[in-house]
């Protein structure tokens, strides 16, 4: 279980001359649920974009399954092992079912009716299978976004503040589905959240990012009860850290 999926060394990302990410060292292991926490602007979402190969580091090395991640050198098959559920889901203007099946169609696979039915049941939207996606509420749309990510059976599931604007019912449902998928399929999950309680509920390991740097990376119990860095302790207590 300790196989390393991602290795980051001195990874930097700059926007308009400003360094938003500068990670000296970080490893993400296969099968874990890792939470990235930190205040807004800490570089959490930027890191997720790098992990999803949507953007590339400006300096340093990022490796996925031992292969260096550089522009144009990530094979499509490898890129397709990773997907993200974003904070605000952008769905296609078609039915719920076709939205969920999209990833399969991209891969030239036939719609797996049983798998779609199973996912619809999992997210509690069986009755809305044929409904147009634009008629959904925010929470329902996010659940569809989760289902369309899960149908491609990703090796890595990246979650970018997936429940930031949702009510407790939807938060609970999404967390349950994610946890279950991690346990049953061994899917590696990287969760970005600024909600420390969610990190505590879901993650086995927590990384605290501040100004683009890793302040602390620790097992969840250690992170919350015995953090090494005083800034981590302050963040966990809910005090502002800058």
């Amino acid at each position: 279980m300790d196989e390393v999926l991602y290795t980051l060394e001195n990874v930097q990302k700059r926007y308009a001359g400003r360094t938003v990410l500068a990670i000296a060292q970080l490893q993400i292991r296969r099968g874990e649920i890792l939470a990235l926490v930190g205040p807004s602007g800490a570089g959490k979402s930027t890191l997720l974009r790098l992990l999803n190969f949507l953007e590339y580091p400006d300096a340093g090395t990022l490796a996925f399954q031992g292969l260096p991640v550089v522009p144009g050198a990530v094979p499509l098959a490898l890129r397709r092992q990773v997907t993200t559920v974003f904070q605000r889901p952008a769905l296609l203007s078609t039915t719920v079912t076709r939205n969920i099946a999209y990833g399969l169609r991209l891969r030239g696979q036939r719609d797996a009716q049983t798998e779609i039915a199973h996912l619809l049941e999992l997210i509690g939207l069986t009755e809305l299978a044929r409904a147009p996606a634009r008629a959904l509420s925010g929470g329902e749309a996010q659940r569809v976004a989760l289902a369309r990510a899960l149908i491609i059976q990703p090796t890595v599931l990246l979650l970018d503040e997936p429940t930031a604007n949702l009510d407790p019912y939807n938060v609970g449902l999404i967390e349950t589905v994610v946890r279950q998928r991690n346990q049953e399929a061994g899917t590696t999950v990287v969760l970005v959240t600024h909600n420390v309680f969610q990190a505590r509920r879901l993650a086995q390991r927590v990384v605290f990012l501040l100004n683009g740097q890793v302040v602390e990376a620790a097992d969840t119990p250690t992170f919350f009860t015995a953090p090494r860095d005083p800034r981590t302790a302050a963040f966990v207590r809910g005090e502002m850290v800058y």
Partner: protein, 235 residues
Amino acid sequence: MEVLWQGLVEGLRLLFRGDPYLWQIIGRSAQVSGVALAVSAVLGIPLGALLGLTRFPGRRLVQALVYTGMGLPPVVVGLLVYLLLSRNGILGPLNWSWVPELFTPAAMIWAQVIIATPLVIGFTMAAVAGVDPELSRQLASLGATRFQITWTVLNEARLGVLVSLIAGLGSIISEVGAVMMVGGNIEGYTRVLTTAIMLETRRGNFDFAIALGLVLLLLSFAINLAMTQLQGKGK
């Protein structure tokens, strides 16, 4: 008023009796503008998608050029194509097989392609740019290739793309300047609805001109109705 009324009645009679001269002209119009629209779609939709979806240096300049192209006066296009295809022109003397001669339906198609393509590009560009930019990133994250992203976004903007085609067709079916200059209004060969209306009016054949005008008006109305219906649907 009486001339108009008589013309209207006679025009409808010609139309529904299937007058061969009249229907030959309608057929030619449909053929020339139909082929021109097809070519414009093949050129314009991918270009519009590219301009709407990608960022590159000079993009704004290209956009300004497209917008200028959307308002090109047909007579200017006629002049341009004339100069291109004329025996003493630019392409004419080269004798390339794919370059048509002046005063042929193919020359008219060239002119209409030049008129309609910027419209197709411009409307497609706007339609594609109107799709949530976040969608492209999320599709990429689901494993879509660039081509698959473009295809999906075009599909999301399908009503706008259809509107671009209708706008293109509307502009060329009713255009007279360019087809007159490069087609020459030769009876049975390059005579289309608009040039025929001009000629028959000059000759005093008002009933004929009115019949042709009716067809053109009906076509225009159908095209605009389709366009407003579609635009309403997209809202």
